[in-house]
Each structure stands twice: as structure tokens, then as C-alpha cells.
């Protein structure tokens, strides 16, 4: 058998070509929606599409540990918020001409997105390293609870830290810049968010197919077996957790720029829960699940929210339906794949 005949690894046995088609359709739908809104001169809808793209990036970060590694993290808002505050704080210092620190060198903050993203990812990754190293000693429900606890710790820290707005949050007066783009133009910021989303999804696809990804997916299925072939699950899961934290922090930085505002709500457990809901809706462990889930969630929030103040009740019914009858989520349903 030649290498070309060997099928690519996949976690689920969905028909590969069909899932690829669904993925392409989802990506295209997002682009068409954003560009359509631009042609119709509907900046609000462009912003909505941008929000979907950014939340999908955060969901993609969570998907790496939850979908591929089987770790139910209920504290990913921590990394999202850390990314958001990185953006907010760096911009705050740069815009107010109050240096962040003067020693060992003068640092005045920044309004440059690439630099902010780098900081956000490093800080998000470091937070995930610390939290992951402690949390990964537990499994199951305890893991869920301990990640939630760490998330809440950071949430309350942000609330009680007056220097950067405390409970009131921190505004970003002018959206941070990206070389060559006018980020204040909604369609340009949308294009930037979509480009980052596709880059992140490409990265996750590459990871999932690598040696690391094989071990990560084996850790989800059978840790005992992974040990027995000479691979320690702990290290593999921790590396995934760090990458996941960095990606989610990147999404947080973009989200702060989208709203031009950061507040502790970005760190709240509601957000951790929303990210989980995206993946359940979209189909946990599928590459494009976060996009499908975030898209559906934001659409329903918008549409049902217009019909009833109690839209979350109807949304709850839908979620129940998905969990009971379509466990592969939207993507599992569209590809006709096995229930996960």
C-alpha cells in the first residue's frame, strides 16, 4: 500500500469528503454573510458576522482540548478575558500616555494588533500552563470544577482591581491598528477576524493530523493504552492546554477590539459555558464545530431575541434536542456521521 492510499486520520468515521464540503460551505456562508452585509450597507450585520468569527476562534481553542483531548474545561473564559485585558491594558497605556513601566526599559503600551496578539497569546498560554499543570492532576467532574474555580478566581481578581476599571471595565477609545488596514472600517476588521479564524482552523487541523494530535486523540479515548505504548498522557494534554489557552486569548484580544471595551464579563463563567455550547451545537471534535456553533448561537440570539425576551428558554429546548437526538451536532447532522 502506498502512502497516498492511506486515509487521513479522523476521530469520527464521517465520510471525509462530505465533512470537507460542509466545512467549505460554513466558511463560505460566513464570508457571504459578511460581504453581503457590506454590499447592503448594514454595518451592524457585519459586526454580527465579525462576532461570530471571533467567538469561533475562542471555540476552536476550546475544541482542541475538549474535542480532541476530551478535557471538559469549564474555565476557558479565563484565557478569553486575559486576551481581552491584554488588549485593553496595552491600549489604555498607549492612548493615555502613561507608560506601563519604565524599568528595565520604557514600555508605553501598544495599539498595534500584532504586538497585542503576541502578548495575549503568551499570557494566555502561561495562564493555561499554570492552571493546566494543577488541573490535569484531576479527571472527570473534578477537572470541570477545578477549571471553573480558577476561572472564577481570575474573574473576581479583575472585579476587585480598580487600576483597570474594576467592575466597570475598561474602554478602548480607538480600535487598535493593524499594518495596512483601517480597522475602524467594519468590513476590514471582519476580513481580519476571518483571516485569523481560518489560520487558527488550519493550525488545529495540522496539529490534529500530526504525531502530537494522534497521541492527543488517543488520550481522549484510552489513557491506559497510551501509557502502555510508552506515551505519558499528562505531557500531551498539558501542551494541548497551553496551545488552547493561547488561541482563546487571541480571540479575547480581538473581541475586546470588536467592542472597544473590556469588562469582567469576558471572564465570567457564562462565557465559559457559551463556548461549551458552541461546541455541543456544532459537533464536538469536528474542526468547524466552533464556527457552526457560534454562527447558530449568534443567529438564534438575534432572531429569537427579537421575538421574545425569554429567547434562552427556546434556545434551551433546542440544545436539549441536539444533546438527545443529534449528538454529532450540526456538522454531525449534515454529514450523516455516527453519533459521537
Amino acid at each position: 500500500m502506498s502512502a497516498a492510499e492511506i486515509p487521513a486520520p479522523r476521530a469520527r468515521r464521517a465520510a471525509p469528503s462530505r465533512e470537507t464540503l460542509v466545512n467549505a460551505g460554513l466558511g463560505l456562508a460566513l464570508l457571504v454573510f459578511g460581504i453581503g452585509a457590506w454590499l447592503l450597507d448594514e454595518p451592524f450585520l457585519i459586526t454580527l458576522a465579525t462576532k461570530v468569527a471571533i467567538l469561533a476562534i475562542a471555540g476552536a481553542g476550546l475544541n482542541l482540548v475538549l474535542g480532541y483531548g476530551g478535557l471538559v474545561s469549564f474555565g476557558h473564559a479565563a484565557y478569553f478575558g486575559i486576551g481581552g485585558y491584554t488588549s485593553g491594558i496595552l491600549a489604555h497605556h498607549a492612548l493615555n500616555y502613561t507608560p506601563m513601566f519604565e524599568w528595565p526599559f520604557l514600555f508605553e503600551g501598544s495599539t498595534s494588533m500584532p504586538l497585542i496578539w503576541l502578548f495575549a497569546m503568551v499570557l494566555g498560554g502561561l495562564a493555561a500552563l499554570a492552571i493546566g499543570a494543577l488541573s490535569l492532576r484531576t479527571t472527570g467532574v473534578y477537572f470541570i470544577m477545578i477549571t471553573l474555580a480558577f476561572g472564577q478566581m481570575i474573574f473576581y481578581f479583575a472585579i476587585s482591581w480598580p487600576a483597570y476599571g474594576g467592575e466597570d471595565g475598561l474602554p478602548i477609545y480607538v480600535r487598535n491598528g493593524f499594518p495596512g488596514l483601517n480597522t475602524l472600517d467594519p468590513i476590514q476588521f471582519f476580513a481580519l477576524a476571518v483571516a485569523v479564524l481560518f489560520a487558527v482552523l488550519g493550525l488545529i487541523s495540522m496539529l490534529a493530523h500530526s504525531r502530537f494530535g494522534l497521541a492527543l486523540q488517543a488520550a481522549r479515548q484510552n489513557r491506559q493504552r497510551l501509557m502502555a505504548v510508552g506515551i505519558r498522557p499528562g505531557g500531551v494534554l498539558l501542551v494541548a492546554f497551553v496551545i488552547s489557552g493561547a488561541i482563546t486569548a487571541l480571540a479575547g484580544a480581538l473581541y475586546a477590539d470588536l467592542n472597544r471595551f473590556v469588562s469582567p464579563s469576558m471572564l465570567s463563567w457564562h462565557l465559559s459555558g457559551e463556548l461549551l455550547v458552541f461546541l455541543i451545537l456544532g459537533g464536538t471534535g469536528r474542526l468547524f464545530a466552533p464556527l457552526a456553533g457560534a454562527g447558530l448561537y449568534i443567529t438564534l440570539e438575534h432572531v429569537l431575541g427579537g421575538v421574545s425576551d425569554y429567547w434562552q428558554f427556546y434556545f434551551g429546548l433546542l440544545l436539549l434536542g441536539v444533546v438527545l437526538f443529534a449528538r454529532g451536532g450540526v456538522i454531525g447532522f449534515l454529514t450523516g456521521g455516527r453519533h459521537g
Partner: protein
Amino acid sequence: MAEPILEITGLRKSFGALKATDDVSLDLRPGEIHGLIGPNGAGKSTLIKQIAGEITPDAGEVRLRGRSLSGIDAAGRARLGMARSFQVSSVAPEFTVLQNVVLSAQGASGATFRFFRPVMRDAGLLATAHDCIARAGLSGRETVPAAELAHGERRKLEIAMALALKPALFLLDEPMAGMGTEGARALGDLLDGLRHRAPILLVEHDMDAVFRLSDRVSVLVYGRIIATGTPEEIRADAEVQRVYLGEEA
């Protein structure tokens, strides 16, 4: 006599008042199948787990090719060539047969933290995997998810994964459990051929298979080895007949 591959001396493990392993010593020599039998609850699985590094003994030592394994965990021992199968088949159920064996070959290679190249296009790992799958008699089943394999095939998959570890020895915990007569015989023939690649410590309930395949047999009762010898010697041993074989007759 050739140096033993695996050498166990004075191994002890207690759970409260229960002596699960009571001063066990045995060895595994090149090219042999060493059968380990004993009634239910004799401590066979506990012994295997101590050898594999999944639980730590209270006293005693396990040596692999003369090297002490104290302080080395299960993953480390696997990388030294200790290839284990489990009493209840333990594979990655969502992976295909090929992915499972590639995972094992990857473990043996020691290089897991590689993030860029697709693992299922790694020519070296694939060559090893296909070779092991063929040896285990699973050719043609490469793309089937492990969860959809028949029971006997999953046993063979575990053998293929063990082979991909470049084993120094096999630690097989009841590989024939739950298999029909026909399947057990076929698997026995497979094990018979494997002993020349690496010696096998075979824990098995199927007496016929143990006596047919083993060069030596050890009998474990209440955590103690009461006899070790050739199948003929064990059959003739009065003590063994009394506490063990006699019960079944």
C-alpha cells in the same frame, strides 16, 4: 544458560491485610513462553501490574535485561520494550486498526511532540505498522475502526500493537479470554511463533493452551508461587494437583 530477559525477585504487595503478592520470584528467558496460572483471586493481575509499572510493589525488584526498573513508570517501561496486553481489550476504539498500530510505533520511536507533518504519511511508522498488522493476521482490516472489530480481532490488534513496540518481552494478560476454541487455537499458534521475537509471560485461564504452549509454568496461589517447572512437572506436582488442578477435576 542464557541470561534471563526479565527477572523478578522477592516481590511483595499487600492491600491492607490481604497479601496479593507474597515473595514472588520468577524469570523469563530468551525464546520461552512462561505460563502463569492460578485460581481466581490468586493475584495474577496484580503481579502483572507490578511488572508493567502500573502499581508499585511494597518490596522486591523487577529487572529487565539486568537493569532495575524501580522508579520507572508504565510509559517508561513500555519504551524499554515491555509490551503489554490487557485482560479486557484496551485499544483506542475510535481509531482504525492502522491508527492504533501507528500510535504504538510512534510510542516506540519516542518522538511524540512533533506538530507539523501528518503522522499517517510517515513512511517509517507506516512500514512498521503494516508489518505488525500482517504478522498479527489482520491484513485487510487496516481501515476498520477498532470499535467495530470482532472480539478475536481486537485481541490480534493488541498483539499487533505490542509488536510495534519493538518488544523485549510480551506481558500478555489472558489474551484468549472470551475467545472460542477455534479462535483460541489460532491465537495460540500466533503466540507460538512470537516467542522467538521476544519471550512471553503468559497469564491464561485456558489450561490446554498454557500446557501446550509453555516451556515452563508457574502456579500462583494466594499470592505465592507454589511451583515452577515444565508442563509435565507441574501436571505431576502433588501440591499443584491438590490446591489447583484438583479443584477443577
